[in-house]
């Protein structure tokens, strides 16, 4: 019951989706299965929300270290959920687009969620700069090749690359840094990325087959 039924569901759904690719008249099976998949995926959002409440409410009730921040999390969650679910301030009421300009949900997105999200990632600019200074060393041939390629891309994707090398005559134009950067992207980068892509695709295909055939069972967990 705990293992056989999930394995059966997985194989049935997966096989249906694979088989229907080859039978045009069975195309609606694939549409239905994908639609069901999408609806179940939404419940994963609800599960995430439920988990968040459980974890942070427990922290608050136990008054464990940093519980005040859990209050902030729960407050943020509650405010966003209420403004979103009830479409508060939406100019078109309940029929309007949830992100309608002027709705409180959209305002919270623009002025709270958006700056938080983008600044979190902007921090990485500082870390990447610090890493460039401290960590990138031409210690061997491979590291040197990597650094040279990065140099060419960094220079070639800005106006500085043009300023520095536009004196190179047309019959040697590939040596102009911007052209060299384009060439690196279109030839060696393409080749390397393609080799990685082929490797990953083989991995995905074999893992999918293992799942469908019931060989891979790690998703069932360890117990029973």
């Amino acid at each position: 019951m705990k293992r056989q039924i999930p394995m059966l569901i997985l194989s049935a759904v997966g096989t249906l989706l694979v088989v229907s690719v080859f039978i045009p008249s069975a195309r609606h099976w694939q549409e239905d299965a994908s639609l069901y998949f999408d609806i179940i995926a939404v419940f994963a959002f609800f599960l995430g929300g439920g988990n968040l409440i459980r974890v942070h409410a427990e922290k608050v009730s136990r008054k464990s270290a940093g519980w005040i921040y859990s209050v902030v999390t729960l407050l943020g969650f509650g405010i966003m959920l209420v403004t979103g679910l009830f479409k508060i301030g939406n100019p078109n009421g309940i029929a309007g687009d949830i992100s309608q300009a002027g709705s409180y949900f959209q305002l919270l997105f623009q002025y709270v969620m958006s700056p938080l999200n983008s600044t979190m990632y902007a921090l990485l600019a500082f870390y990447v700069a610090s890493a460039s200074y401290r960590a990138f060393r031409a210690k061997n041939t491979e590291a040197t090749i990597l650094l040279v390629a990065a140099f060419v891309i960094l220079l070639g994707r800005t106006a500085l690359g043009v300023l520095l090398t536009n004196w190179i005559p047309a019959q040697f134009s590939v040596l102009q840094v911007p052209n060299l950067a384009i060439w690196i992207m279109n030839a060696p980068n393409l080749a390397g990325q393609r080799a990685i892509m082929i490797g990953i695709s083989l991995g995905v295909i074999s893992m999918s087959l293992r799942l469908l055939l019931g060989i891979e069972r790690s998703y069932l967990g360890g117990d029973n």
């Binding site: 989706l17 609800f46 599960l47 405010i79 949830i98 997105f109 019959q171 980068n189």
Partner: protein
């Protein structure tokens, strides 16, 4: 003790700046409504406060950063849940489930005989939520199995077609582009970016690079002799790839920083 006093002074300064910014921004609002101006003044000041709170982590972890981080977690979860409800539950389930609910939510009702099937994903969805209940949490594996099965089924054929067959096929390209004989090739040879030599070189690099890259990833045979040479070329190609990716990553991260600083100088301080 000293750090507590310093923190209080800092909090007071931040509060003062916040207040000044709020008042100033409210006064310079574009709307005719005083409420809208005050609200927008508060929101933009709050956005700046959150931006600077996150940046403060660069100095060290602190309560402002923790506040912003915690708020982000909560806001994001609420955001995605709201969207999930309106876009998929109301958008896809309600129109197939009930005429009266469709009218209530102002979505077009779809009359069809097989609508009973739309309850299948709802049941699986509810089963997924049992994960929150320790005693029957194991039931959620059924829904998980549906999700994993669908992903495996979808990915198997798509990756096979686009990322394997097409990529192998795309690698078999002409190795002698516009070839009109060795004499013509030698007489026109140049390093022009759009010239024949570079076009030929590119195709050789792509073909040989892909093959050697794959050889590098083949671990069932020892990398010695000709195989070792191919593997060595493969790792060089991969290093160029990683170098290009690093360059692009730097570009991307800097762009995000530019975006935030532009927000501070432009939207808040109005000095751009």
């Amino acid at each position: 003790m000293t750090s507590k006093i310093a923190m209080r002074i800092l909090t007071a300064i931040v509060a003062l700046i916040f207040l000044v910014s709020w008042i100033t921004r409210s006064g310079s609002g574009m709307s005719d409504s005083a409420f809208t101006n005050v609200r927008d003044g508060f929101l933009i000041t709050f956005a700046v406060f959150l931006t600077l709170s996150i940046f403060s982590f660069l100095y060290r972890d602190n309560p402002f950063y923790k506040f912003a981080e915690s708020l982000y977690v909560g806001i994001s979860a609420g955001y995605w849940m709201s969207y999930g409800f309106w876009s998929t539950i109301v958008g896809n389930f309600v129109p197939r489930a009930s005429r009266s609910l469709s009218e209530f939510f102002h979505v077009p009702y779809q009359e069809r005989a097989d609508h009973i099937l739309i309850y299948i994903p709802i049941i699986f969805g509810l089963i997924l939520l049992t994960r929150l209940l320790p005693k029957i949490g194991w039931l959620s594996r059924w829904s998980l199995a549906f999700i994993i099965g669908a992903t495996a089924g979808l990915n198997l054929t798509r990756y096979l077609r686009s990322d394997f067959i097409s990529q192998v096929s795309n690698s078999f390209i002409p190795l002698f582009v516009d070839w009109k004989g060795a004499g013509d090739f030698v007489s026109h040879i140049s390093l022009a970016a759009d010239g024949q030599f570079i076009a030929i070189l590119s195709n050789w690099v792509i073909f040989v690079g892909v093959m050697c890259g794959l050889v590098y990833f083949f671990f069932s045979k020892e990398h010695k002799g000709a195989f070792g040479v191919a593997s060595r070329i493969g790792i060089w190609i991969l290093m160029i790839t990683f170098g290009a990716s690093f360059g692009y990553t730097v570009m991307g991260r800097i762009s995000l920083l530019v975006g935030r600083i532009t927000f501070l100088f432009g939207d808040w301080l109005n000095i751009l």
